[in-house]
Structure formats: structure tokens, C-alpha cells
Symmetry: C2
Subunit: 214 residues, 2 copies
DNA sequence: GTGCGGATTAACTGTCTGGTTAAAACGTAC
DNA sequence: GTACGTTTTAACCAGACAGTTAATCCGCAC
């Protein structure tokens, strides 16, 4: 193939697809080269090593994952609306990008044994958040404000943020388990998604009401 | 080393440790052999292949994971007590076995690309549940009964079960992300665990109260 | 058209690793 | 002690795969 001026970009694009589909270990340099329509040696020519290429890809993909959370957050309105809209947006996003969830899952799993903190997905997440939100956490701040205004009972914003993310993300992460254990369950079906959103808003909204527990 | 009569058991034990630490791909047959104090060829002599050996290990480990849920469920009492005790037991268990969580995480991740359904962790989970609970799901039944008795508002027991597992498990699964994004957070610390349990019981109990939402 | 430097390629290298094999060691029955 | 089946071992094999190299291609300046 004759020289092309967008070779580097084409390689990065192909690498993104292949890493997304097969993961870091499962991906083959040869596969990436073929998908980019390019000789394998060029991958090393432009990116030096598989590891370096992977780092470029992971930054791209983490960007996507972070943005998905951020754009799901409505910027103002009452807390009840925030809850409804965020859950709906975020659950919809998760349902439509199973490969991205899988990728993050793989990466979290491997970050557990990576000794090099800097190359870890956690660090990349933190950097992406800094880039897009100046390091401020939209979810935490929204919850804190709502509590201050008395819209909801006082809660630890971090704890609630973790719970909120948990109930949204978990069904998609644990899908292989859940669907095996509950054969009637189809996490990606419209019915389940709709029911899930409704249940989550009910549960969390009620759970945050100011009235005293008995 | 002279013949020993517990060789097979020693290999399985070593394999469990090594797979737990490094995962299926990361584990080396050589490492397992060394840890068992045995020649590498013996692993194949007794277990035929890495895959077969791994299957034996995964069944053992999934057993542990399932039992952790089951023994965390108190058998009777009011629903509020059930919630408190289950959350406390299960969170404590998760906090003390990070390697097991990591292992399940790895396995769920790889089950996503394993074409062979039978060898998948989901199937193994289902079998383990059948073995220990006759296929009946303790959590779901407990919730359904409580709703029938009017102790809590009517909810879809499956949805709530998913949410309950989600809020318990998520902090430990997402630990590498959470601790990177929130540097002050230490998921395994006593302080966090205690606060988490309290927040979860509050949130879920209030969320399940029969009173009408405004 | 000639020469130069970056881009591209085919072929190769080295290594890692799961799996095999053929022989040796060992216990046991006789 | 000897013959036999099982257990154990050292050495080897083959495939997969990241990475390298040396030669070639190509556009462009002059």
C-alpha cells in the first residue's frame, strides 16, 4: 500500500475497535494492523509498543465513559427531577454501550494487579474528570446542595453518589451472572430498563425523604 | 521428590492460590507446579489441561462466593432486622476477601467473550445456587414475603435484590476507580465500612416504607 | 533525473508457555 | 529380588506473538 497521510489516525481507530472488542491481552497487533490496512511494523513505527498504543486507546475510551456520566446530569431544577433525568439518561447510555462497560470492567480488573499506578484506569479517570469538570464532582455537589436546601434529608454526598452509581451500573456489569441465575431476566430489554428506572427513582427518592424513620 | 499420596490435592490447592492471585491468563502452570512442590508434567497427568484445572478451581471459588451471600442472610425476624444483618454480614465479608471479588470480576469480564456458555461463571453460579439452596433464591423470597406481609411497600423483589446486591458490592468492585477519584476514600477502612452500612440501611429501609411519596 | 528522508513492507528473531514424551523412580505383590 | 503398574521427572516440542531489521517504495527539492 502506498504511503497515506492519515496512517497514524487509522491505526489508532483500528486499535480502539480491536481493544474494545478483545481487551488488552486478547487484542493482537496483527489484527489491528489488518483492520487498519497496514503492515504490522507500522504500529511500532508510530506507537513504539503495544503498551503505548493501548495507553492512547484507553484515554480515548475513558473519556467516553466519563462524558456519559457528565452529560447525563441535568444542570438545574429540583432534586427529584435531577434524580429522574440522571437515572434515565445514564441507564439508557449504559444499555447502549455494553462494549464500553465491558472494557472498563476488564481494565478495572487488570488495574488490580498493575503495580504502575500511573498507567492505571483510576488515574486516567481522575485526569479525565479534571479535564472535563475541573476536578469538581457534579454528582456530589448536586447532592450536597439539595441536602443544604432541605430538599432531601442530610446524607453523606459521597455515600449516596456511590449508591447511585452502584444501582445504575451493577445490572450491566453483573449481567452475565444475573441473566444466568434468573433466566427470565433480559437486562437490555426495553421492559426491564423501563421498570428499572421507575424502581430506582422510587427507591432512592423515598430513601432520601426528610421524614423520620420509624 | 518421592511419590506422595496427596499430590492431586496439593496441586489443586496451589492452583487455587495461584489462579486467585493472577487470574486465569496471568497464572502459569510452572508457578502452580512450584507452589505445589511438584513437576509441571504432573499437572497435566492429573488434570489434563490448564483449562480443566481452572474449571476445578473456579467451582471451588464460586462456592465460596455463593456461600458468603447465603450465610449472610438471617433466617427469620422482621424485615428491618433482615436488612441490617444482611448488609452488615455481607459487607464485612466483601471487605475481608478482596481477592475473591477480584477473581469474580475477572471471570465475569472474561465470560463476556467466552462463547462456551457451559464453562461460564454464570452457569457455575447457577449450579452452586441449586446445590446450596435448591435453586430457590433466599433474597428474593425474603423480600416477597415482607411485601406480602405489608412490612414494606410492594416492590418487584428481583429489582430490589439487584439494587441490594449492587449497593453492597459496588464499592469493592469499583474500588480502584473510587479511590483514585476520591483520594480521601479508603473503602476497606473501618470508618468507611461502618458509615456505609448505616447509610445503606437508612436509604433502603426508608426507600421501602409503605407511606405515599409526595 | 538524482538524491534524500520519511513511510512501508516482508521476513525474521527471540521468548514465553502450554503441552508431550521417554525414561527413571518407586511401591507392591509374589 | 524381580516383575509390573503407577507416579514422577528432565528434556523437549510447537505454536503464538511482540518486536526488529534490512531492504524497498515514494514524494519532493534541486
Amino acid at each position: 500500500m502506498p504511503p497515506q497521510d492519515n496512517t497514524e489516525e487509522r491505526i489508532l481507530q483500528a486499535a480502539t475497535e480491536v481493544f474494545l472488542q478483545y481487551g488488552k491481552d486478547g487484542a493482537r497487533m496483527q489484527t489491528i494492523a489488518e483492520r487498519a490496512g497496514v503492515n504490522k511494523a507500522l504500529l511500532h513505527y508510530y506507537f513504539r509498543s503495544k503498551e503505548k498504543l493501548y495507553q492512547r486507546v484507553i484515554v480515548k475510551l475513558v473519556d467516553r465513559a466519563i462524558k456519559a456520566v457528565l452529560v447525563s446530569v441535568p444542570r438545574d431544577g429540583r432534586f427529584r427531577d435531577f434524580l429522574t433525568v440522571f437515572i434515565s439518561n445514564y441507564v439508557d447510555h449504559l444499555a447502549t454501550t455494553p462494549e464500553l462497560i465491558r472494557f472498563v470492567l476488564w481494565e478495572v480488573g487488570s488495574s488490580w494487579r498493575t503495580p504502575d499506578k500511573a498507567a492505571t484506569i483510576g488515574t486516567i479517570f481522575k485526569q479525565a474528570i479534571e479535564r472535563y469538570a475541573g476536578g469538581r464532582n457534579l454528582l456530589i455537589e448536586t447532592i450536597r446542595r439539595a441536602a443544604e436546601r432541605g430538599e432531601i434529608r442530610p446524607v453523606d454526598p459521597l455515600q449516596f453518589t456511590i449508591s447511585l452509581l452502584a444501582v445504575c451500573v451493577y445490572p450491566f456489569v453483573a449481567r452475565p451472572l444475573l441473566e444466568a441465575v434468573f433466566p427470565e431476566l433480559d437486562v437490555l430489554s426495553e421492559d426491564f430498563l423501563k421498570a428499572r428506572k421507575r424502581e430506582l427513582v422510587d427507591l432512592l427518592w423515598k430513601g432520601l425523604q426528610p421524614e423520620a424513620t420509624n
